[in-house]
Amino acid sequence: MNVLIIDDESPAREEIARLLGKESDIRILGQCSNAIEGIAAINRLNPEVIFLDIQMPRVSGLEMLSMLDPEKMPRVVFLTAFNEYALQAFDQNAFDYLLKPIDPARLDITLKRLRRDRTPTPALFDAAAPLKQVPCPGHQRVLLIKVEDIEYATSKTGGVYVTVSNGSEHFTELTLRTLEEKTPFLRCHRQYLVNPDQIKELSFLEAGTVEIVTRNNHHVPVSRRLLGELKEKLGLL
């Protein structure tokens, strides 16, 4: 069983790692000290289970769930120091949670459940709140860009990038699928999502192709296949 630990307190990570290290069938793929690192690691390592702290800087554990790719949703074991009322919003079967300091006997129960059933839990993703901000790691720090400030998102060979009003482009660990599911963005192209609030016009070009022009005059391509659906969603039909 491949697991990933995400907690901002290093002694806390160390403790859960020590407890999990006793189990022969568990392989710790890595440890992350915040949610942004966590998303990247999940995308990269595809863990079956994550041990996820709830209180973390900038992006909480709960918020992080809505930033994951629903296809790659691991099973989640929340770690919390105190009763977290926010957990009541979720289907109790979709996750497990452990109180800190962790009681090894209680952890055993959790592990038994996981061994029995480690199928991913997309239910958790569906229940997670809509996305409000998109984390974009930069050189020195992580930018948290508000969803309404994004004009469009595109998937390139290097990864997914969001473009904001001033034209600057930011890399993000979030997948287009996540953004499509958790934001109001509309799919207009296999590689593009557009923020409908930022659309200024649909421009019909000579070659029969269509482009979206955003409020700040950025051009976003529209695929022929998705044009009808887009028009429908925009209420243009």
Binding site: A12, E14, Q55, A81, F82, L99, P101, R141
Partner: protein, 575 residues
């Protein structure tokens, strides 16, 4: 010669009559109807009283007159003139007319002349009133001598009217010769004495009220604030002594609803504070919430403890607290040998009301204090459960790796919780607060291991500066909870103190710059700290917040530079 002798005889007889008249006047001045007449008044009801009273005296003057031939030697002028002097021209005219009409109804050759002259006399009194009022000399109106002169003039006028109107002229002359001297003397003297009586009444009345107000004010000033610190044996004894000294009654007692709290004065040997209430009258006053007065005559008063007790009269007034509930009584006593003065009886009720209000104010104040205390307690108790369990979680990790460091952590936790559990003694010195905060920060540093850097810059000489306890911790906790713990990188907390212009500046700065106006969670702690400092030291002191987004948040406490007392300072070093 014969004329003169007859005239003197008549004068004396008329003066005798005037005496009867004045005795009636004296008796009437003791009644309430005279109270409005003791002041110059322009209010209508008072003028009406003035008119009625002096009209009666006018008529009385006629009845008490002496019949001479067909005419009457009388003192009617006193009523008419005084009515005018005290009530003004309109009242004077009205009184004169009423008295004159009455005289006219009795008939005789001088009837018409007498009526006209009485009206004239009222008018003369009224004009004197008008003149003096215009000149602002109210006191002259009550001065017997000018009043006598005015009456004298009025009588001269009457004589002239008689000479003019009585027919035949010879009869008129005869009449005036007979009447002039007795009536001039009797009326002038009578009016002056009448005024003197009024004046005496007024002075007595004023003396009484000034004694009353002096006593009341004296008691109010001396007991001010005493009962606010609590309604108990100590404060009650102080109050009872003051009331005893100021009123001069035989003895003063204060009880709550069960026990005697204080007893000062005669009989204090057997009325012992702290003993349960004996007197059935007191219990009755408490139960009924009514004043009980046992004067020793109509209502028997007998000391319920010692039959030989010299106290013979007792006034028991309930003290009333919240929602009109009786919370005790104040009792005034006089011994057998003295009368219970009405002033003291009236004062007693005033004192009881004053004391009740004080007790209420005291309770209110204490409740407010309690509320503030419990707010602080709340702040103490507001130990974030996340903090506690995370600290324990950290500890469980550290124990294995570094037992030495784990021991240290346990000590820090103890220090932190000990300080939190401590009753908010309200005052601490900076050193103590720093000790408390350091323990907290050490635990947080262990939690975030290398992700939190703390810098303390506290000059030694400021460690003894006094401040409201538990002021620094909430600020530092905020700096971590809403500041550095939200950083993806390393957090910095810097706590520094400096002094300037008799003020200590205590600054807590983080490198997160995430402060937002507390619409939400961070509000309570910071708000309470600000309110406590400002409430204690004035609005020049308190708390300032500066924030540059993403760079820093700095909270600055501004406190007065007052040093700790030695004892607290020592405690600070132990902490």
């Amino acid at each position: 010669m014969h004329m003169t002798l007859a005239s003197i005889e008549l004068t004396l007889t008329l003066l005798q009559q005037t005496c009867v008249y004045l005795v009636i006047a004296y008796l009437l001045t003791r009644t309430r109807i005279f109270i409005p007449l003791m002041h110059v008044t322009i209010r209508l009801p008072h003028r009406a009283t003035c008119y009625i009273v002096f009209s009666l005296f006018c008529i009385l003057g006629t009845y008490l007159g002496l019949k001479i031939d067909d005419s009457i030697a009388n003192t009617r002028a006193i009523g008419a003139v005084l009515g005018g002097v005290l009530g003004g021209p309109s009242v004077g005219l009205a009184v004169g007319f009423t008295g004159g009409l009455h005289r006219y109804s009795l008939g005789g050759p001088s009837a018409l002349a007498c009526m006209v002259s009485t009206v004239a006399e009222g008018l003369i009194g009224g004009l004197f009133h008008y003149y003096m009022m215009r000149r602002g000399r109210f006191d002259t109106l009550f001065n017997p001598l000018p009043v006598a002169l005015v009456t004298f003039c009025a009588e001269v006028a009457q004589m002239l009217v008689l000479l003019l109107l009585v027919q035949p002229p010879a009869a008129a002359r005869h009449l005036v010769e007979q009447l002039a001297v007795p009536m001039l003397v009797a009326n002038s003297l009578g009016a002056a004495l009448f005024m003197r009586i009024l004046l005496d009444r007024r002075e007595l009345y004023e003396r009484q009220s000034s004694v009353f107000s002096t006593k009341a004010l004296g008691i109010a000033a001396r007991v001010e604030g005493l009962l606010r610190s609590g309604f108990n044996v100590d404060t009650s004894t102080l109050v009872a002594r003051i009331v005893y000294e100021e009123t001069g009654v035989g003895a003063v007692a204060i009880t709550d609803t069960q026990n005697l709290l204080a007893f000062i004065g005669i009989g204090s040997a057997h009325h012992l504070p702290g003993t349960p209430i004996h007197s059935a009258l007191t219990l009755k006053a408490i139960e009924s919430n009514e004043v009980v007065y046992a004067d020793g005559n109509e209502v028997a008063y007998r000391c319920s403890i010692d039959p030989k007790c010299p106290l013979a009269a007792s006034l028991i007034i309930p003290l009333v607290g919240e929602e009109g509930r009786v919370i005790g009584t104040i009792k005034l006593y006089e011994p057998r040998t003295r009368l219970f003065s009405t002033i003291n009886r009236a004062l007693g009720e005033g004192i009881a009301r004053l004391l009740s209000n004080q007790i209420l104010a005291g309770r209110y104040m204490r409740q407010r204090e309690l509320l503030a205390q419990s707010e602080i307690k709340l702040l103490h108790a507001q130990v974030n459960p996340h903090f506690l369990f995370n600290a324990l979680n950290t500890l469980s990790a550290v124990i294995r790796r570094d037992p030495e460091r784990a021991c240290n952590l346990v000590l820090n936790l103890s220090t932190f919780f000990r300080n939190n559990l401590k009753r908010p003694s309200e005052e601490a010195c900076l050193g103590e607060e720093i000790a408390h905060v350091s323990a907290y920060l050490e635990i947080e540093q262990a939690r975030f291991l290398g992700q939190l850097v703390v810098e303390l810059d506290i000059p030694d000489d400021l460690r003894l500066v006094r401040m409201p306890a538990f002021s620094l911790q909430p600020i530092v906790e905020n700096a971590i909870k809403h500041g550095t713990s939200q950083l993806l990188g390393v957090g910095h907390i810097r706590i520094s103190a400096s002094s300037a212009n008799d003020m200590m500046l205590l600054s807590v700065e983080d490198n997160a710059g995430l402060y937002v106006e507390p619409a939400t969670s961070s509000g309570l702690g910071m708000h309470l700290v600000r309110r406590r400092i400002a409430a204690r030291h004035g609005s020049a002191f308190g708390l300032d917040i500066a924030c540059e987004p993403e760079v820093f948040t700095r909270v600055m406490l501004k406190l007065p530079l007052t040093p700790c007392e030695a004892a607290t300072a020592l405690e600070g070093f132990h902490a």
